[in-house]
């Protein structure tokens, strides 16, 4: 009994010490408050804990951005719980009841799912940046030094070239790759058949492996399989930052990847959540995103030649938007890609 009580006392003491330290830190921030360098000039907000639910790739960026946000007057009382995972999984989890104040996904349909579930307001994409917080482009990753000289889409369908890309049915993000290839070859939808033929040849003859996620594709490629990998520019930059041996080229014709962010309707702390989302569009946050390989949406953040704009850059809206594209290409029963994938299992016809 006495022993239990002593242990309780120890825990209590430790807790007290911790809160004292925390208090001291808070005091330190108070002193900085008058400093004019903070760019989010808003007032101090009441304390709150925000739940951030996001897809996995921007984790490192978010950790730094949150630290930066907590140094601003607005963010100083705000703490975070962070959850990262595959974009589709995260979106389904929130739709099924995972509490979230701020959500960020790799593609719009994951946000649309929450709009349909009544968890994100209809007008989430009405703002200046249409709800998109970061951009990227689909790039062609190659072996170091690009020994097979793969620079453009046509090169990927060359003799004996192996291309790694995830399965577009298990990886929502892989749909960007498919639409980039289709858009590039079909002259942004004008020459539909040419785009479809390209996808057919690519998947039937050149894609030897279809991993279930982009990260596993990268694993496969770095493990020695394939001559090229279809990847987001930010993933390729991330891989290079981690000293993975690969080069990448951004083809002249490619798609602009846009990653949506929103505050949920049922957020317990909408004011704080909005302040955080606003902060994501600040120069500081956009610079952190850029350092992690994302193309900033805020003008003037990217350095000159940091992210050259491809000659023919198109958007998903140029191909009819996600809702039309999802139905036509990725419907699990009737989509174009299902037909292409189905043919893989059939012995090749003469």
């Amino acid at each position: 009994m006495a022993r239990v009580r002593r242990r309780f006392a120890t825990v209590l003491a430790a807790g007290l010490a911790l809160s004292l330290v925390a208090g001291a830190c808070g005091g330190g921030d108070d002193n900085k408050k008058s400093s004019p360098t903070t760019e989010a000039g808003g007032k101090e907000l009441p304390a709150a804990e925000l739940a951030l639910v996001a897809y996995s790739t921007p984790q490192e960026a978010f950790e730094k951005i949150i630290a930066a946000f907590q140094k601003t007057p607005q963010g100083k009382n705000i703490t975070f719980t962070q959850s990262y995972g595959a974009s589709g999984d995260q979106s389904r989890a929130v739709a099924a009841g995972l509490p979230a104040d701020v959500v960020e996904f790799s593609l719009e349909p994951d946000m649309t799912r929450l709009v349909k579930a009544g968890l994100v307001a209809d007008g989430w994409n009405a703002g200046e940046y249409k709800g998109m917080v970061t951009d990227s482009v689909v790039a062609i990753g190659t072996r170091k030094g690009n020994p097979k000289k793969l620079k453009d889409w046509e090169d990927l369908n060359g003799d004996g070239v192996e291309v790694i890309t995830p399965n577009p049915f298990t990886s929502g993000g892989a749909r960007w790759n498919v639409m980039a290839a289709y858009g590039a070859l079909s002259n942004v939808g004008k020459d539909d058949q040419k785009g479809l033929d390209y996808l057919n040849t690519l998947f039937a003859k050149h894609v030897p492996v279809q991993d279930d996620s982009a990260r596993k594709s990268l694993q496969t490629f770095v493990g020695g399989k394939g001559d090229a990998i279809l990847a987001y520019e930010n993933e390729a930059i991330f891989a290079q930052q981690k000293n993975q041996p690969l080069d990448y080229v951004v083809p002249d014709r490619t798609i602009l990847i846009e990653n949506p962010v929103a505050v949920t309707k049922n957020s317990q702390h909408p004011q704080q959540a909005k302040a955080f989302v606003d902060f994501l569009y600040s120069k500081t946050a956009q610079r952190i995103f850029a350092n992690n390989g994302y193309r900033p949406v805020l003008a003037g953040v990217a350095k000159k030649n940091e992210f050259p704009t491809p000659k023919k850059l198109f958007k998903i809206s140029d191909l009819g938007g996600w809702s039309a594209v999802s139905t036509r290409f990725f419907d699990p029963a009737t989509g174009v890609l299902v037909n292409i994938e189905n043919q893989l299992g059939v012995p090749t016809q003469k």
């Binding site: 298990t170 279930d212 694993q219 699990p332």
Partner: protein, 263 residues
């Protein structure tokens, strides 16, 4: 003559039923119900869709093959561990369980780096059906070994000695005396191994390459259906797996009883 059943322990049975319901029955029933959500024809077309159908065939075929291998190799391993004495036997015995301890995705990664493109032993089977079989063999190895081993340990050696003294050779003794005693354990291990094999995701997802119609297993196919927001089809393919598992489990049980009564 009728034997009276022993009195049931009310609390024990109640707790067991409640626990099984919460953990197993209700979730399984929910999957089956969900798969019937849109009617039988939708269910049927979901599991006969080309990708689903070929992934089911592949998964069941490879799981069955691996189970057969496990029945032989698992029994052999158990025999060696119980009846033979060799240096390092204890270590060997401990290592048997390791495939259980490893997250299966790590198993996939290890197999891929050993038997993949940059194989240090120059065996490249990555992204083939062989690779799927090897991955399943790895994760299901302990089942038969661990069910047969205790039975062998408990087995009365006098039976074998009696058989030998009656003139039976070593092989006949094994076949007519030892093996019939092992049937229930082998059958139990085989059933577990098969059920585990058809549901495997982690170890196969990396090494199989997931080519639809070629190397994509059912679990990955189901994952794709979920990712495409086709929950009903995902539930349908899952239900197909459940039904096949059930049939196989019952079948093995029946075969095992038959073998015991006959032997």
């Amino acid at each position: 003559m009728r034997t009276r059943r022993p009195p049931t322990t009310g609390i024990g049975l109640g707790l067991a039923t409640l626990y099984m319901s919460v953990i197993v029955f209700i979730p399984l029933a929910a999957i089956v119900l969900k798969s019937q959500h849109a009617g039988w024809s939708v269910f049927w077309s979901a599991i006969t869709a080309p990708q689903a159908w070929s992934s089911l065939k592949l998964t069941i075929g490879i799981a069955a093959l691996v189970t057969v291998v496990n029945v032989f190799m698992g029994t052999l391993l158990a025999w060696v561990l119980v009846r033979d004495n060799f240096v390092g036997k204890r270590v060997f015995d401990t290592l048997i369980d390791l495939p259980f301890a490893l997250p299966t995705i790590v198993a996939g990664l290890v197999l891929l780096s050993l038997y993949g493109n940059n194989s240090p032993v120059h065996i490249n089977i990555a992204y083939t059906r062989t690779a799927v079989a090897v991955a399943l063999a790895f994760v299901t190895l302990p089942f038969v070994v661990r069910t047969v081993q205790p039975v062998l340990l408990e087995m009365d050696k006098e039976m074998e000695e009696a058989a030998a003294s009656l003139g039976a050779g070593r092989f006949t003794t094994f076949r007519r005396v030892v093996l019939p005693n092992l049937y229930p354990a082998i059958a139990g291990g085989a059933a577990l191994s098969f059920a585990r094999g058809i549901s495997e995701f982690g170890s196969t997802v990396l090494i199989s390459g997931n080519l639809p119609g070629k190397t994509q297993v059912a679990a990955v196919q189901i994952f794709g259906l979920i990712e495409s927001d086709n929950v009903v089809a995902a539930a349908a393919v899952s239900t197909a797996l459940l039904v096949i598992s059930l049939v196989v489990l019952v079948g093995i049980d029946v075969a095992q009883r038959w073998a015991v009564t006959r032997g």
